[in-house]
Symmetry: D2
Amino acid sequence: MSVAALQELLERFADARDWGPYHTPKNLAMALAGEAGELVAEFQWLTAEESDRVMTDPDKATAVRQEMADVFCYLLRLADVLGVDLDTAVREKIAINEHRFPAPRT
Amino acid sequence: MSVAALQELLERFADARDWGPYHTPKNLAMALAGEAGELVAEFQWLTAEESDRVMTDPDKATAVRQEMADVFCYLLRLADVLGVDLDTAVREKIAINEHRFPAPRT
Amino acid sequence: MSVAALQELLERFADARDWGPYHTPKNLAMALAGEAGELVAEFQWLTAEESDRVMTDPDKATAVRQEMADVFCYLLRLADVLGVDLDTAVREKIAINEHRFPAPRT
Amino acid sequence: MSVAALQELLERFADARDWGPYHTPKNLAMALAGEAGELVAEFQWLTAEESDRVMTDPDKATAVRQEMADVFCYLLRLADVLGVDLDTAVREKIAINEHRFPAPRT
């Protein structure tokens, strides 16, 4: 599914619940930061190697997957209320980083 | 563009730079949290109303857009290294939330 | 109680549980970020005015107070393992900010 | 210096600059989360072992120390505007954790 289509699903979900007044850019940025905190907490006591195997534990895998979905949902809502095209924004970022971090020639 | 296609662009970008050893799930979760911190910082002294108008200031708009892209890039990288299908994860989350927060009938 | 004395209480607590191997600077910074995420989440849907009155709700007050304690505990642990004198670091920061943000004369 | 004394220094600093209207609990929680994000970013690409040695690099040591001071400053400001006694809150948290994580007898 495209980023834009997911964004629209979430917009309809929020609208059906009259969440508009809560979904200010400021509040959504906070909600995203809160979910990013929960995501980082899933990894805080793991070694690098344990973090590589995190999806082999079914409970942990579900938790990580859901925290990632939560981060993404708020990012999509924020993109929606601010009118940011996330798809293009990522591709612009890649173009910027091509210059900042040139790939070694092979 | 689909979420999966963006994910692949970023995978190729990281691979071309041999960033694999740095891109452990633990490190990517930290990088995402760091970018979420920069995003929330863009809004910290704004009122709710000022946050609604944040994209009318060109410099601020660029900063917000780039922080959002940074969060998204690390989320896509994390999905890649963990084998998480972000698209499906979001739709599952919506299904869960349909039950937790039923929409009022109209 | 002094910052140094609180730091020592927490050091003894961690040592008695053999938490040393988990309390690397990297892991403690992650734990702190996780708790900061939980703290910001307490405020995410509140207006500025509601946030001013947050401590009048006993349940919310307990939650906020505990999240603040959690952030502080990990900051004190991090200071301990890195040998940072937090007290002096704050006063140096104030000195730096006296120059960056001179107070208006009265 | 006691936690309360540091808190008072920062209160006077904020008052002298009329920052009161900006220092709502909501905004201070955001600012703290933003600084926690900058702190975690200092460690994101380091191995556990590199993070143990982070203070041996003078530039990195200064950065880490300043980010820790920034987190602490906003935590102290938040404690001030909410009337939270951080010192007591930490000791209560330790008492709670004594029960949750009993130390092994020796």
